[in-house]
């Protein structure tokens, strides 16, 4: 357990070494709220929805997603700099290493997004404490799931260029085909296919649960998105671990 925590600690510390990236993203987050959110909400009118609050909640999820996905880029960079060989030579079992990385990737994104979520809560206003705790738990699992997803992609795709392109494309599709920025009903009305994809998207589950926890929307059955997030987390955490483990043992990282 101690070794897993050390791997987690390394990933968390490493993330916060990217100071410029963190500051830039924080500035982007604040400017999206203070500029884009405020301005866009004046020209967007959605029935029964305060779009500004709706957007700020979605922005938090988008930021959490992009922070959690970063672990895959780290893994690529480590492979390029040979750091992977170093990690594999340590007195740490493969399982401990893989589990530690998966947890570290999720945890660091959660730590990073914590102050930003606090800021968004200040903007959003009232929360339902119990619902909010449930949504926070869901976001935690969501961050781990995205981290596992990113690790899976990083160890499956051998070319760093392909990985960059794929992650760019997936980022665009996953975030935009979700309810991070617009309600599901409007996505559905635009194109039923878009609506179908968005309704199964983990970003949708996370966004909806966070808005539910912050009293922005009501959900008929919050258990459904929660189960969706648990399924996403379980699949990509465990599949990610298995694939990562196999790649390591087979020398697939080389």
């Amino acid at each position: 357990m101690n070794k897993i925590l050390l791997v987690v600690e390394r990933d968390v510390r490493l993330f916060f070494q990217y100071k410029f990236l963190i500051i830039m993203r924080a500035i982007w987050f604040v400017s999206q709220i203070a500029l884009f959110g405020l301005i866009a909400s004046r020209m967007i009118s959605v029935p029964n929805v305060d779009y500004f609050r709706y957007y700020v909640a979605g922005l938090s999820i988008m930021t959490l997603y992009s922070a959690a996905i970063f672990i895959g880029f780290d893994i690529y960079e480590e492979a390029e700099h040979g750091v992977f060989e170093y990690l594999l030579s340590l007195p740490v079992s493969r399982r401990q290493l893989v589990l530690g990385r998966s947890i570290g990737g999720g945890l660091r994104s959660f730590i990073y997004v914590g102050p930003l979520i606090a800021l968004s809560l200040y903007v959003i206003g009232t929360v339902n404490p119990l619902n909010f705790l449930v949504s926070l738990f869901a976001l935690f699992l969501f961050a781990f799931g995205v981290s596992g997803f990113s690790i899976t992609m990083a160890v499956t795709i051998k070319s760093s260029d392909r990985f960059d392109i794929l992650m760019g494309v997936l980022d665009a599709l996953i975030v935009r085909l979700s309810t991070a920025m617009y309600p599901l009903a409007i996505v559905q009305a635009t194109n039923p296919l878009y609506g179908s994809v968005a309704s199964l998207n983990p970003v949708t589950f996370a966004s909806d649960l966070f808005r539910w926890g912050t009293n922005i929307i009501t959900l008929d059955n919050p258990l459904l998105p929660l189960l969706g997030i648990i399924a996403f987390f379980s699949f990509f955490t465990f599949v990610g671990i298995i694939i990562y483990d196999r790649r390591i043992e087979g020398g697939g990282w080389q």
Binding site: E85, L90, Q254
Partner: protein, 372 residues
Amino acid sequence: MKQNADKSSLHYDQSAASPARTTTPLFRASLSLVLINGDVIVFFSHLGYVVAPIIRMERLTKRFGNLAAVDHLSLEIEEGEILGLLGPNGAGKTTAILMLATVIKPTEGTAHVGDYDIRKQPDKVRGLLGICFQEPKMLWVSTPWDIVNWHAKVCGIPTAERKKRVKDVLEAVEMWEARHKTVHALSGGMRKRVEMAKVLIQKPKIAIVDEPTAQIDIVGKHKIWNMLCEMRDEGSTIILATNELYEADVLSDRVGIIHKGKLLICDTPKKLKDSIVGGDIIDIQLENDAQPKVVEQLKGFKEVVKVLQIKPSNLRLYLNKVEEVVPRIMNSLMKSNVPITSVHMSEPSLDDVFAHYTGLTIEEAQKSGEKS
């Protein structure tokens, strides 16, 4: 430097490179006889068992496609020795090291590190090893302090001791001042010193150092060599992979020459040099011209392989075991009333040994390796 230099000659022979060599413990005792007040006192300066080698590679092979990077490597390494793996870039040294460290899996064969099989108990194997990689393995955003401190944590060094040792080690490799700089801001030599610091702080049972002084200036090289010797003296076994002949020569108790993935020979540097027939050279300058009978007299020594008369009064002898035979040659010439002006001796270098076994100098081997 080579405090253990004689040790390997006591219980190692060339058959050690063969997997068939027995690993059954043998009884060993060293005696010292000392006269005190006319009485003979016998000291058992060492008494114990010669245990099984700490590392045993058995037909260790790694293929990448059709290329055998390491080809049926069989070698035993004894506890407490510095074993130099000498070969040009691409010879297979690093691949062999990565297999030992369980970073990559062998295609064929295996190795035992301590009591553990690298295939079956890789976690246990890694617990015994510390590695200084050829290329420093660190991300550019990390700092020397972070790197060494985290490494110490993973290796299980307790907190109180760790803080002191991180400072000591970073000071020893002259990186304390630069401890908070990012790797991006460090020179190649500084990065290499940080890489070395990881092994120094770990004090592993078995240290594997892959070209530890590459990119390091001559003063830094000597410091690192001293650190490696200290580690060995404190009980670590060291595998030194290098393509620097002098480094292998001065540090290693034994040197294994590896070329195109194959281990060609492994022995003490001295024995390797002695293994070249006629490898030693002495130039004898006589006061007068050398008579044919003098040349014949010199040819009469069984160690002398060839005698050349470079100038009428200058003879060049190609011979073996120069230290043993030169006094005898001098005595013989003096008894024959042949006055000598000067004698110049030179012994073969490991480069000569490498050339002898591969047909190439190490530079030529490096170039041919790069082409292939």
